[in-house]
């Protein structure tokens, strides 16, 4: 090997190493930042168009006024993981005379979204809330009252700001905070 070849190879290595000094870091600083696809977009099924709407498949959201207690979600889930069981809720519901609503065990749920597809009354949706970890196994069981409320805001110190991924060839892929 000639000395000039060795020197040019050495310089190439140093140059590619130095380039990483000016590159932005790829890491998404999760508890402060989060990539959210679109605001308030729920995973659901549109019967007229026969297609799913976009959205992350996270915690469910149940509409108590639309649910008729037809058990279609439970029947669908029985073939998969058996996370949904119907429980009775006290109160008067005009569309649901028996008053039975799905309760979901998130220790069993596999977030496949088939219960949302099976719901022909547009009562079941999925939100983008994925922070479902618990200290207690029993706390993973969500009753109808719990899944009928929209997910709570995260605590102030870990409330995630919305970020988006920028693919920059010169400075490297990185995340920036979204304005809107």
């Amino acid at each position: 090997m000639k000395a000039s070849e060795f020197l040019s190879g050495f310089l190439k290595v140093v140059e590619s190493g130095l380039r990483h000094l000016v590159r932005k870091r790829m890491t998404l600083r999760y508890p402060e930042f989060l990539v959210v696809p679109a605001p308030d977009e729920l995973f659901g099924f549109k019967p007229g168009e026969a297609r799913d709407t976009n959205g992350l498949r996270g915690r469910h959201l149940l509409d108590l006024d639309r649910c008729t207690g037809c058990r279609l979600c439970e029947i669908t889930c029985n073939g998969i993981s058996g996370a949904i069981t119907m429980v009775k809720v006290e109160g008067q519901f005009p569309r649901n005379k028996r008053g039975i609503f799905p309760s979901i065990d998130y220790g069993r749920c596999v977030f496949c979204g088939l219960c949302v597809d099976a719901c022909i009354f547009d009562a079941l949706f999925m939100t983008d809330r994925e922070e479902l970890a618990e200290y207690d196994r029993a706390a993973l069981l969500y009753g109808p009252e719990e899944i009928s409320k929209p997910p709570k805001e995260l605590p102030v110190k870990i409330r995630a700001k919305r970020a988006e991924l920028i693919l920059d060839e010169r400075r490297g892929a990185h995340h920036v905070q979204r304005k809107n």
């Binding site: 890491t27 993981s81 220790g107």
Partner: protein
């Protein structure tokens, strides 16, 4: 409740009263804990929660998500979780990722007994929390919390890196609210969870 039955705390097995060598060791341990707990307890716990070394017991696809969480985009090492470990006896966090069969359960218990106190465990994925897709299977353990104690449950099939990191935040909040021996004084609420 059910999970506490499997917990064996070797450090607490020395008697505190009576005579003999074991009782002397027990009394000495109490004195050392009392002298360290009040001035240095917070510092000890703080250093513990940012140097969690996990044993990742990877038996199914959840391990791919832990790999993604350790990668460049989510970077578990920001929280002090170093995935490359030397020995089980240097680790203090057991991450159970995936389906645990009845044969694997024996090995899992051996791994758990080998780890020194204080130690914590995370059940990640539906399979090891409750059996998941293998509900009513003849050879899959229907929830590892029947055998060993679990501190944090992370649901999902498989859980995304975001869920795993949130479960880790919960575990860090539990550790900072523990005493020097690693026993939780109280469990923080879901609204209290914050970056420690």
């Amino acid at each position: 409740m059910r999970s506490e039955t499997g917990r064996k705390r070797l450090a607490l097995s020395f008697p505190t009263g009576g005579n003999g060598a074991a009782a002397f060791v027990g009394r000495l341990r109490d004195i050392i804990i009392k002298s360290v707990a009040s001035p240095l307890g917070y510092v000890i716990n703080w250093s513990r929660l940012y140097s969690l070394w996990p044993v990742h017991l990877e038996t199914a696809c959840c391990s791919v998500e832990l790999g993604a969480a350790a990668g460049a985009r989510w970077d578990l090492e920001r929280f002090g979780v170093l995935e490359a470990f030397g020995s089980l006896r240097q680790c203090d966090l057991l991450m159970i990722l995936g389906t645990v069969t009845r044969k694997m359960m024996k090995r899992l218990r051996v791994i758990w007994e080998q780890m020194p106190e204080p130690k914590w465990s995370m059940a990640i994925g539906a399979c090891c929390i409750s059996g998941g897709l293998y509900t009513d299977s003849y050879n899959v353990v229907q929830g590892v919390d029947m055998e060993i104690p679990i501190d944090v449950y992370v649901p999902g099939c498989p859980p995304s890196p975001r869920k795993i990191i949130y479960g880790l935040l919960l575990l860090q909040n539990k550790i900072i609210n523990s005493d020097v021996l690693g026993r939780p004084k109280r469990l923080p609420d879901r609204e209290e969870v914050r970056i420690v």
